[in-house]
């Protein structure tokens, strides 16, 4: 297969995958639907049945979107750290290879 045909094929495949992905993003995160966590649905509910109530956390984010913002920051920092470490791992390998080539 010619190179440009292969590129178009890959692009078309990615475009096809992008549509269900966007749908997934909307359906699972943006759509107005309550997805109760298992901490509420299982852990806290059963604990409450046995007389144990969950307490507020030490640093209580309270009402509003502060907690969402904290999660956003945590995700971004975690993602950056993961990407940086991955780059270090891969670039180190490249340096190792170059080193071996020069030695060889």
């Amino acid at each position: 297969m010619l190179e440009h045909q292969r590129k178009w094929k890959v692009l078309a495949l990615q475009a096809l995958l992008f549509i269900p992905f966007l749908f997934g993003i909307f359906y699972f995160t943006l759509a107005p639907r309550q997805w109760q966590g298992v901490d509420e649905a299982v852990v806290e509910r059963i604990a409450r049945e046995h007389g144990h109530e969950a307490r507020k956390p030490l640093f209580d984010p309270g009402e509003g979107d502060l907690l969402l913002f904290a999660f956003l920051c945590a995700g971004a920092i975690g993602g950056f750290a993961a990407g940086y470490s991955w780059r270090m791992l891969v670039s180190e390998r490249r340096l190792d290879n170059k080193h071996h080539c020069l030695k060889g």
Binding site: T29, W35, A47, H50, A54, F59, F71, G79
Partner: protein, 253 residues
């Protein structure tokens, strides 16, 4: 080159997912649920594993410099995926994978305990995710049980001749399910009061099943994918960590 592109696309999609952030709802035991004596017991159980993990981390980091970025990568991966809520449409609830299985396979179970403890501490302090008083219990379930079960299953399967993908998948799956089994034991033993342990334990396990059954499969797939990716990009690291033998590493890698 293609792999690089695919990874870039994957990271882009993952970033999109993370940027549409939602507050994590999870299996971590919330603040104040366990009575004081049980909370203390789990701290005592977790402490020696943490101490051994720190010691092992120091030894490995001194022996091999490339171990540090691998630990950094694993710490970030465990932190992200253990606070990433994944909705399970069949159950109408959401929870998250743990990541302890991946970390245990790649950096060893003791170091994985340390990684899990740090992730859980940050989540309890700043993300209202899990609690500080229940931190010991959460470290035991996710860090100790999750890591060791994943690592043992992986090693047993590899010794039995399973491929990296199969061993990684089943190890990730078992690490996830074992974590929730341990959480059920901790919860049932802590909150039961005068009630019998076993019926309450079974009740909690059954309540976890609809959410955790599919999430375990997801965690298995993530674990297998991560192990295979590292095998492709850094097989030398896997050899050094004793995950694969030298003769299993292809020449191009």
């Amino acid at each position: 080159m293609n792999l690089n592109k695919n990874i870039t696309i994957l990271i882009f999609f993952l970033t999109l997912y993370l940027l549409s952030a939602d507050v994590a709802h999870a299996m971590h035991i919330s603040e104040g649920i366990l009575p004081f004596n049980w909370a203390l017991l789990w701290f005592v159980v977790a402490a020696p594993f943490l101490a051994m993990g720190l010691r092992r981390l120091n030894v490995l980091a001194r022996e091999d410099l490339s171990f540090k970025p691998l630990v950094g990568l694993m710490a970030a991966v465990v932190f992200i995926i253990s606070c990433m809520p994944v909705p399970v449409p069949t159950a109408g609830t959401c929870s998250h994978p743990c990541g302890a299985g991946i970390a245990a396979i790649l950096v060893g179970p003791l170091v994985s305990v340390v990684i899990s403890a740090v992730a859980l501490l940050i989540q309890a302090l700043f993300l209202a995710h899990g609690g500080l008083t229940t931190l010991g219990a959460n470290i035991v379930s996710m860090g100790v049980i999750g890591s060791f079960s994943g690592w043992i299953v992986f090693r047993l399967l590899r010794t039995g001749g399973a491929s990296l993908a199969v061993a990684g998948f089943i190890a990730g799956l078992m690490a996830d399910w074992a974590t929730y089994l341990a959480t059920s034991i901790e919860l049932a033993s802590g909150i039961r009061g005068g009630a019998p342990f076993f019926p309450l334990f079974v009740k909690i396990v059954i309540a976890f099943v609809p959410t955790q059954l599919p999430l375990g499969i997801l965690e298995g797939a993530m674990t297998a994918g991560m192990v295979l990716l590292l095998h492709k990009r850094r097989p030398d690291l896997l050899v050094r960590m004793g995950i694969v033998k030298t003769d299993e590493v292809s020449i191009h890698a």
